[in-house]
């Protein structure tokens, strides 16, 4: 397992749980730059060129917040790597210099869809949420790698309604607690959480629009190929309240790790967590379609890795 892979479980975790598991990340940036940067940026640009209406959407009232989010993201790129990124801030705009791509882009304050511009320079999916009517709405996004949902359909939808299809989301008022948490986010204290699932194949684009393409892979999982084919798919999700517009910038960086890369204690942990998962969650996460071959693969690996008594 790569050291940069955000392994989603704490050492003690042995069962699946419903909870708001976000933790504060004061001082950390809203984005990461890793060794997949050029490959993923190139893929994002290809997707948005081919399917612009599914990868970028915004409502007109978000332009000011988009500019604030774009400027924050550009500043964080510089914080992450001053050697590769720099920024010139002028009255009414800024210019980002990207030496990895040998490009520079200028964004003006009232130019409109600034998220569309800055999204071309980060590996993350970027989402803007705004607050009204005591609720949080998803009002803009540059999203190429969603995990089974549609940016276009979810545009303008309130937070609670977006998550209605998630099994257990209303369990013990979890949905209301998370909404209250989001509404209480403060600009001084951004938060992070790791959202995990399993996927068949390393394809990043799991958009609802292309579900018939990537879902076929699930049928091809066997006990012999699961170690390489099945991936622990982890989204590093970060939440930043923007101080001026009070919108929320939600960034998602998707990582994959093949099950073969997990060593014995982690395989055992994953096995136990999967065993404890309710059926509706297994189905929602798409695991039930290849549950048997996956289980057989994990049991084989556990037998092999267990020390003789």
């Amino acid at each position: 397992m790569k050291s940069s892979f955000p392994y989603p479980f704490s050492k003690e975790q042995r069962t699946y749980s419903y909870s708001n598991d976000a933790y504060p990340i004061t001082g950390k940036p809203c984005i990461e730059v890793n060794d997949s940067y050029i490959e993923e940026i190139s893929y994002k640009r290809q997707l948005i060129k081919e399917q612009p209406g599914r990868c970028f959407r915004s409502l007109p009232h978000t332009h000011e917040a988009q500019y604030e989010a774009a400027k924050l993201t550009a500043e964080h790129l510089v914080n992450v790597s001053e050697e590769e990124f720099s920024i010139d801030v002028t009255t009414g705009g800024f210019t980002l210099y990207n030496s990895i791509l040998n490009e520079q882009v200028s964004v003006e304050e009232f130019s409109g869809d600034a998220l569309r511009v800055i999204g071309d320079h980060v590996q993350e999916d970027l989402i803007l949420m705004t607050e009204r009517d005591q609720d949080i709405y998803m009002d803009a996004g540059y999203v190429c790698f969603p995990a089974g949902w549609s940016l276009t359909f979810n545009l303008g939808m309130p937070f609670l309604q977006i998550h209605e299809p998630v099994p257990g989301f209303t369990h013990q008022g979890l949905d209301r607690r998370i909404l209250r948490f989001l509404r209480g986010l403060h600009a001084d204290t951004p938060y992070e959480r790791l959202n995990w699932s399993l996927s068949a194949g390393r394809r990043l684009d799991h958009s609802l629009e292309t579900i018939t393409e990537w879902k076929r892979e699930r049928q091809l999982v066997s006990p012999d190929n699961a170690g390489n084919k099945v991936q622990l798919r982890v989204e590093r999700q970060r939440l930043f309240r923007l101080p001026e517009t009070q919108a929320i910038l939600f960034t998602i960086h998707t990582h994959h790790c093949a099950l073969d890369e997990l060593d014995y204690p982690l395989v055992e942990q994953l096995y136990k967590i999967l065993e404890s998962m309710p059926r509706d969650i297994l189905k929602y996460k798409g695991v039930s379609e290849y549950e048997e071959p996956l289980k057989e693969y994990l049991e084989r690996k556990l037998d092999y890795g267990r020390e003789p008594s």
């Binding site: 209406g53 005591q134 979810n154 545009l155 303008g156 939808m157 309130p158 209605e164 579900i211």
Partner: protein, 151 residues
């Protein structure tokens, strides 16, 4: 999921429904009462046409939030009437009361109007056969529909 999303914080609310829309209307009514919101409800039974409804919505004060559970065909016309009367998109929520639905094709994003009680449902743009979910967008005023091959 065939229910209104109660948007708190508006000055007042107008609820219009027909006999088939009584269920979502009742659920919303409970929320309005629980919140102590100021609201008015209109039963659009037989003999109540678009003209009557349009006059009612036009006579409301600014800041009114409009909820309607009516037949799809009437809702299409009512949306135009509401926008002309000055309602903002976020002040309008509609739920179709019959089996005819606006459906949003997840693959080509086209919105078709179709009778969901008579499958197969087909996208009138890309031609895919779709399964209609219970997930509904107030922004698109439509239900999400996904290729049947995906299930």
């Amino acid at each position: 999921m065939n229910s209104f999303h109660f948007a708190a914080g508006h000055l007042r609310y107008l609820l219009i429904f027909d006999s088939k829309g009584a269920e979502p209307a009742a659920s919303l009514r409970n929320s309005l009462i629980n919140e102590g919101a100021e609201f008015k409800e209109l039963y659009a039974g037989s003999g109540r046409d678009l003209k009557w409804i349009s006059e009612e919505i036009s006579s409301q004060k600014n800041g009114t939030c409009l909820y309607a559970a009516l037949e799809t065909g009437l809702l299409e016309k009512l949306e135009t009437a509401a926008v002309c009367a000055g309602y903002l998109p976020e002040e309008i929520q509609f739920i179709p009361s019959g089996s005819r639905r606006r459906i949003f094709c997840a693959h080509c994003h086209h919105i078709s109007i179709t009778d969901c009680e008579n499958p197969p449902v087909q996208c009138s743009s890309c031609g895919r056969y779709l399964k209609v979910s219970g997930s509904r967008s107030g922004y698109w005023q439509a239900y999400l529909a996904v290729d049947r091959e995906a299930f």
